[in-house]
């Protein structure tokens, strides 16, 4: 009989509290979004499952010595997982479209306004009772506007580890929602005639240019913004492995096996931060709202910058391209292509949009470096 009572006392049913059940529900919603809706399934599936594991009473996954504890401690607290992912993203990225049309970097820069505007917004939220964001919290939330998962996780782990779960979930959810969030903003800010603008064909890019590009980006970062070198450095390493053509084995590992393995553990570790006491806060609600605002402002400022450039160039640049300046590679570029095709079914903007799209990755890494340098 004593054995039975001890068994009962250890069972999940006897130990559940409301918060844990609710968080398991959140985990199930994430699984549903990943499996049924195919929203960023590569990340939301492990994150959702991690959220369920982390809220098992007496499971011990997140206690010291547990799997999720170590995954978080080793990979995220140190910043290693997001950086390894960034190396893989570098190995996956073809900068050809950007090298052919360097001006697109300006769109990648303009779209980062979403980040800095949200910084203001997060601080302004402090006027509402129940919110108390410090400047570092605000910076970590604002980076959601960079629309770049690894960058957001890296910055949050450095500046506001206690908000990491909510920030990562917001960042990846909104990235999945890019096809819903962006088009209305893009249509609102452009005219039909502007959306129909056709772009000149991109010039060819030599192999030397592609090899020199990552080295050049790294050089500039070393000179001006060393705080961004962890992100930019790993990104450039991955890209150099790809473009040099002499280490195809390493490049293929970085963009396949390694990034996949790291993604599993990164997702689980982020999910482990979705515990009831950390997630069920007013602040989470604020983060979700601010994330959507950051995304929208980023899209709008990118489009507005593209409009200015379009006017200055005498109508050679399609303003829709600006929306691709928030990173979210390649989803944002596909959205630009789709909205462009709606206005003119012969106008394929995808290759042109890849330029500002990869510029956005650089832009958000630079913005993260600025925030780290100023607040870190």
């Amino acid at each position: 009989m004593d054995g039975l009572i001890a068994f009962w006392a250890e069972s999940g049913i006897a130990n559940f509290d409301g918060g844990q059940l609710l968080m398991m529900g959140v985990g199930c919603i994430l699984l549903y979004l990943a499996i049924a809706k195919k929203f960023e399934p590569l990340l939301l599936l492990p994150i959702g499952f991690g959220a369920i594991l982390a809220n098992i009473p007496n499971g011990g996954f997140t206690d010291e010595g547990g799997l999720l504890y170590f995954a978080y401690y080793v990979g995220i607290e140190t910043g290693i997982f997001p950086l390894l992912i960034f190396m893989g993203v570098g190995a996956l990225t073809d900068f050809g479209a950007l090298i052919a049309n360097p001006k697109m970097l300006l769109l990648g820069a303009a779209a980062q306004f979403g980040i800095f505007a949200t910084l203001l917004g997060a601080i302004a939220l402090n006027w509402i009772p129940g919110f108390d964001f410090s400047m570092t919290d605000a910076a970590a939330i604002a980076i959601i506007g960079g629309a770049d998962g690894p960058t957001a996780i890296f910055l949050a782990s450095k500046l506001a580890p206690e908000l990491l779960g909510a920030i990562a979930v917001a960042a990846y959810s909104y990235m999945a929602l890019v096809p819903l969030i962006q088009p209305p903003i893009m249509r609102l800010l452009t005219t039909e005639a502007e959306r129909q603008i056709k772009m000149e064909q991109l010039r060819e890019v030599s192999k030397k240019e592609k090899i020199i590009f990552p080295l050049m980006v790294l050089g500039l970062t070393i000179l001006f913004l060393p705080a961004a070198t962890p992100l930019v450095g790993m990104f450039c390493l991955g890209n150099l492995m790809r473009e040099s053509g002499v280490v195809d084995r390493l490049s293929s590992t970085a963009q396949n096996e390694l990034i996949n393995i790291v993604t599993i553990f990164l997702g689980l570790a982020v999910g482990s931060k979705l515990s009831a006491e950390q997630f069920l806060q007013m602040e989470t609600l604020g983060i979700l709202v601010l994330g959507a605002v950051a995304f929208s402002i980023g899209t709008a400022s990118g489009v507005l910058m593209a409009k200015v450039m379009s006017k200055l160039s005498g109508g050679k640049i399609n303003p829709l391209l600006g929306a691709a300046g928030v990173s979210a590679v390649p989803m944002a570029a596909r959205v630009v292509n789709k909205v462009g095709l709606e206005s003119n079914n012969q106008n394929f903007l995808l290759m042109h949009a890849m330029g500002p799209n990869v510029a956005g990755v650089l832009g958000s890494a630079v913005a993260a470096g600025v925030l780290l340098a100023v607040l870190g």
Partner: protein
């Protein structure tokens, strides 16, 4: 309340500084990319490839004569056998 507006002021400062730095950084990158493109950009390859292709064309142009010679030689060889 005062501290929030102070923080807002700080955030505004970071916003201006941050956007300026991002633009400055990426503008430098544009300059550098244009320099690299001028030095290492693809040379008009059409000129390079066409002379390389032409000799091949001329050998194939000669080849009908060669084939006649070769077939004649084979014929002779077979007649011997």
């Amino acid at each position: 309340m005062a501290s929030i507006s102070e923080q807002l002021y700080d955030a505004l400062g970071i916003m201006v500084l941050g956007m300026a730095l991002v633009f400055l950084f990426l503008s430098f990158l544009i300059l550098a990319m244009n320099l690299v493109a001028r030095k290492f950009g693809p040379v008009p390859q059409v000129d390079n490839t066409s002379p390389a292709v032409q000799p091949q064309m001329s050998t194939t142009a000669v080849s009908p004569l060669m084939t006649v010679v070769i077939t004649a030689a084979i014929h002779q060889h077979r007649k011997k056998a």
